[in-house]
């Protein structure tokens, strides 16, 4: 599966739990990124939990010249013994401890500095399974979370520190620029690459890694359980949940400090990046773009029709289609001849889809709402007056931009980049004005009012349509955005090597 590039690739793309094995937003973006820069060669490193590798979900583009794997839960066996293991582990213990609390690049560099000379002679048997490693685990447990479940700490340590070791001991393909698609372990690998090779690194975050982990950790019921019998031992100080979050924040902080450019899709995310220690001077927004040239050619269908709104997206709970249906019920009292379309696949959560159809029947909307399934958007956009998005969570939904390029305004909930795309960023010059409206989450009345406002005031709708179209052309044009990455890559590729950065940081 792994192929080695003969000469350094232009870009080494670091992908944690995504392309080319998992379908999703980041993977689609990575595929698109490589295809948009055919003149650059990419060496991919896929970071996966273990050796249970599934089939490739994407055809690799021709400029992907290599694909390496890092298995985070499987450092590789390594030799059974290592002379001076105890001293080595004692040496990295303070840095590991800080990475579990509020650490950063200097701690990571200290660990790399200690381990790197022995690469190839260290592995699971020495770093994780040896009696010396056991003593290290017990010491770190006793000094941090000793009131909590030792079983959970043991697995936490093996996952966190084991993943760290995997990222620090694996082979690193040579490249001119290292580009990671997340912080986390891929971010650690990017930081290591920057330190060891002196080459520049970029991090492009779609969702904010620590934020996503925070939500998962908060919801993890298995974590932080206390013993249920015996004398109630009060947990002293930090919980394991805190330790998990703190460790991921340390990993992100190290990545941010090592990278030359910290990119995300919209300004809202930058707040979170700053919180995790990102240097504002290196931060920038590069949104995902759409094919403005193609979409803007879609002309409005002039034939008379009922006012039409559309929900565009998968029929799943996170999109809150039910709120959309409730809002149509309200909207009908204001716009009696309203017509509503649900455009999107229903097979992902059939139970939820069935509930939505049932709701339509119960609200007596059968003649108003129709489910069209997955369609080619271009075939519908010319006959849609307003797009509605009721999601409870989004990153940067492209449908707002696709509709906008075709001159269709959107009413969306205040999630992810929706506000930025519809109302424009605070620093937008020139300010194009609103391209629709933003509403609160799960508020069907507000959604209905905002849509009615657009439908009943044609001049307002026209103004919004014009604004959003202009904004997409100026800010979200895929061709322009590709140029931004091209320029960033060109600048960083040509930078000379920074030698001895590791020693300097450590």
């Amino acid at each position: 599966m792994s192929t080695a590039a003969a000469s350094p690739a232009d870009v080494c793309l670091l992908l944690e739990g995504s392309y080319p094995y998992v379908v999703g937003g980041v993977s689609n973006w990575a595929d698109e990124l490589m295809r948009s820069h055919p003149h650059l060669t990419y060496h991919l490193v896929a970071l996966l939990p273990d050796r249970n590798v599934s089939r490739l979900r994407y055809d690799l583009p021709p400029n992907a010249v290599g694909l390496d794997h890092v298995f985070l839960q499987d450092v590789g066996k390594g030799p059974a013994r290592f002379a001076g293991l105890e001293a080595l582990l004692t040496r990295i213990e303070p840095a590991l401890g800080r990475l579990q609390a509020a650490g950063g690049l200097a701690d990571l560099a200290a660990v790399i500095d200690a381990l790197a000379p022995h690469r190839g002679r260290l592995g699971r048997r020495t770093l994780l399974d040896s009696p010396e490693a056991w003593q290290l685990i017990v010491r770190m447990y006793e000094s941090t979370v000793r009131g909590t479940s030792f079983l959970d700490y043991f697995w936490t340590w093996r996952a966190q520190i084991g993943g760290l070791f995997a990222a620090l001991l694996c082979d690193l393909p040579p490249a001119k620029v290292y580009h990671t698609t997340s912080t986390g372990y891929a971010g650690l690998l990017a930081a290591r690459a920057a330190l060891e090779t002196g080459r520049p690194a970029i991090v492009t975050e779609h969702g904010i890694y620590t934020d996503e982990r925070r939500i998962e950790i908060a919801m993890a019921q298995w974590l932080g359980r206390q013993q249920r019998y015996g004398f109630g031992v009060e947990s002293e100080g930090r919980s394991l949940k805190d330790l998990w979050v703190d460790t991921f924040v340390s990993y992100s902080h190290a990545c941010y400090d090592a990278c030359d450019a910290i990119v995300t899709l919209y300004q809202g995310n930058q707040e979170l990046q700053r919180r995790d220690g990102a240097d504002p001077a290196k931060m920038r927004v590069i949104p995902n773009g759409v094919d403005y040239a193609g979409l803007s050619r879609i002309a409005r269908d002039p034939t008379p029709r009922r006012p039409t709104v559309a929900f565009i997206g998968r029929v799943v709970p996170i999109k809150d289609v039910k709120t959309f249906i409730y809002s149509i019920a309200h909207l009908r009292t204001m716009v009696p001849d309203i017509r509503a379309l649900v455009l999107g696949p229903e097979d992902e959560d059939p139970e939820y889809a069935a509930e939505c159809r049932k709701l339509v029947a119960q609200a007596d909307l059968a003649k108003v709402v129709s489910f069209a399934g997955q369609v080619r958007l271009e075939d519908y956009l010319d006959r849609i007056d307003v797009v509605v998005l009721t999601s409870i969570s989004e990153a940067q939904p492209l449908v707002i931009l696709e509709a906008g390029a075709a001159g269709v305004p959107t009413v969306a909930t205040d999630v992810g980049a929706c506000r930025e795309m519809i109302q424009g960023a605070a620093d937008e010059v020139p300010a194009f004005g609103p391209g629709g409206a933003i509403t609160a989450l799960a508020d069907p009345v507000a959604t209905a009012m905002a849509v009615a406002d657009l439908l009943l005031r044609p001049s307002h709708r026209e103004a919004c349509a014009k604004a959003i179209k202009a904004r997409v052309a100026a800010t979200y044009n895929r061709d322009t955005l590709n140029e931004v990455y091209r320029a960033l890559y060109d600048e960083l590729r040509q930078r000379p090597d920074r030698a001895a950065r590791l020693a300097e940081v450590a």
């Binding site: 992908l15 944690e16 739990g17 995504s18 999703g24 937003g25 980041v26 970071l47 939990p49 273990d50 050796r51 298995f71 985070l72 839960q73 499987d74 450092v75 590789g76 066996k77 699971r124 994780l128 399974d129 009696p131 056991w134 017990v138 447990y141 006793e142 000793r146 909590t148 479940s149 030792f150 079983l151 959970d152 043991f154 697995w155 936490t156 093996r158 996952a159 993943g163 698609t181 997340s182 986390g184 372990y185 891929a186 779609h206 890694y209 996503e212 982990r213 998962e216 950790i217 993890a220 298995w222 974590l223 359980r225 206390q226 013993q227 249920r228 019998y229 015996g230 998990w244 991921f248």
Partner: protein, 478 residues
């Protein structure tokens, strides 16, 4: 969203450990059973022989029986240990559908390996009349089958039927031997005895099939366990060979007996050692009580504390309780077995007189009693190693016993009659010290062993679990 960070800590199902380790611990105690049964049977027959020592037929019968017991027990133990483990895991997983298949499969494997050996032996080594040779082979296979089916005894809750089967079978064996022994000599004795043991085997098989009403499918599935658990058949073979090694070597002593049919035997050494071994019966009873009560509770508490998210300090507390309990048990064992052994040594003349063994073998018997004392301590250590699934240590301990027994018995043979029995004694002493030493070293590192060394959930692709297998100490991510 990108990232596997948290997925790393994916969950696997956890369950209570108690079910498995129970069956497992039982098996280790019961594995002492066949040997005890052998000793009892041969002791009974010996007593019988001594009473009628004018009958040469009886002596040949006893010799054939000892050969069959010795070699069937040794050669059956590898498969028996693997199937014990397989059955324990299946019971733990509440998936006993394969039990009848395994019964059939294990008998097939044992017979395939041993029948040719037994047949070749009786065809070529002793000079026996044809029918007697055939009957000897049948007797061998019946005894081998008995060792194999006893693996299931712990799994059968029906102790009444099992006890009745043994009592009835042995009664039939003795009665038939006596009835047919007089008119038909050795053939009649062996035939009667075989019929009685065959009855036991068939009743147990019938009981197993009644208990597990499943089709006989995948009879060879248990063989998959030989690879991941390769230490078990090795340890089984080594232990069985260890307890016979001194007897086998003594069959080459200058004062051995060579029957006219050409079978070497050392009836006085064998008898002295068999009777000496009987002195550890009280210890075996103590093991049963110990593993069922005080130790077992603490053993379970230790794992339960881990599984129920105890702190490290609590885990250490339970480790200490295990160590304390075992130290107490060891003390009790030494006191009990020491008392019994002392009494046996003091009362040796009376005991030997009652069994009709010649007085000048008293030294051999006494040193055998001392050997049995340390043999009991060795078994104590082996049971603990079994509980904690320290299979390689089991191999090391049994190999020590075998090597020492062979070496020192050869030495004792060299030194002559006054030293007969010292080989077994020294071997048991050394093996007990080694095994107890291993146990104390391991117990001191119990948390590390539990979480890392014996934990199949730890480790990469190179440490795969067997299909449907399960280790008792699988500290899974719960």
């Amino acid at each position: 969203m990108a990232g596997v960070g948290f997925e790393l800590r994916r969950l696997t199902r956890s369950d209570d450990l108690a079910g498995l380790v129970r069956a497992y611990g039982h098996a280790s105690v019961v594995s002492g059973g066949p040997w005890l049964m052998t000793v009892l049977a041969i002791a009974a027959v010996t007593w019988f022989v001594v009473g009628f020592d004018t009958m040469r037929e009886l002596e040949l019968f006893r010799t054939i029986l000892i050969y069959n017991f010795a070699f069937s027990l040794t050669l059956t133990s590898p498969v028996a240990l693997v199937t014990t483990r397989f059955l324990s895991d299946q019971i733990y997983l509440k998936n006993v559908e394969r039990a009848p298949g395994m019964l059939l499969g294990s008998l097939i494997v044992n017979f395939t390996l041993q029948a040719p050996l037994a047949a070749a032996f009786y065809a070529f080594v002793p000079d026996l009349p044809g029918p007697l040779a055939v009957l000897s082979v049948i007797n061998y296979l019946v005894i081998a089958a008995l060792w194999q089916v006893t693996v299931f005894l712990t799994a059968l809750k029906d102790y009444r039927t099992v006890t009745l089967a043994f009592a009835g079978g042995i009664a039939v064996a003795v009665a038939a031997s006596v009835v047919f022994g007089f008119p038909y000599g050795t053939f009649g004795l062996l035939g009667g005895f075989t019929a009685g043991f065959a009855l036991i085997v068939f009743v147990i098989i019938a009981r197993i099939l009644a208990e597990y009403r499943h089709p006989l499918k995948r009879p060879m599935a248990f063989l998959a366990y030989c690879r991941p658990y390769w230490e078990l058949p090795i340890a089984g073979l080594l232990y069985a060979a260890a307890i016979w090694a001194d007897k086998w070597i003594m069959w080459f002593a200058p004062d051995r007996v060579l029957t006219p049919e050409g079978l070497a035997i050392h009836p006085f050494y064998d008898s002295a050692m068999f009777f000496a071994y009987l002195t550890i019966v009280p210890s075996l009873a103590l093991f049963m009580i110990m593993t069922e009560t005080s130790f077992f509770e603490r053993y379970v508490a230790f794992y339960r504390t881990i599984q129920r998210h105890g702190t490290y300090a609590q885990i250490l507390g339970h480790q200490k309780e295990i160590v304390d309990t075992l130290a107490g048990s060891l003390r009790n064992l030494i006191v009990l077995q020491g008392t019994v052994s002392f009494a046996a040594i003091v009362l040796a003349p009376q005991l030997l007189g009652a069994f009709g063994i010649a007085y000048h073998h008293i030294g051999m018997f006494r040193i055998g009693v001392l050997g049995a004392l340390f043999h009991a301590l060795f078994l104590f250590a082996m049971i603990i190693l079994t509980y904690f699934d320290l299979r390689r240590d089991m191999v090391a301990a049994t190999a020590t016993f075998l090597g020492a027994n062979a070496l020192f018995t050869l030495g004792a043979l060299e030194l002559g009659f006054p030293y007969y029995g010292y080989g077994y004694f020294l071997a048991a002493l050394i093996a007990a010290c080694v095994a107890l030493g291993i146990v104390s070293v391991r117990l001191a590192k119990l948390p590390y062993l539990t979480f890392v060394v014996c934990n199949p959930s730890v480790g990469g692709a190179d440490r795969k679990r067997p299909e449907h297998g399960l280790a008792p100490l699988d500290i899974v991510r719960s």
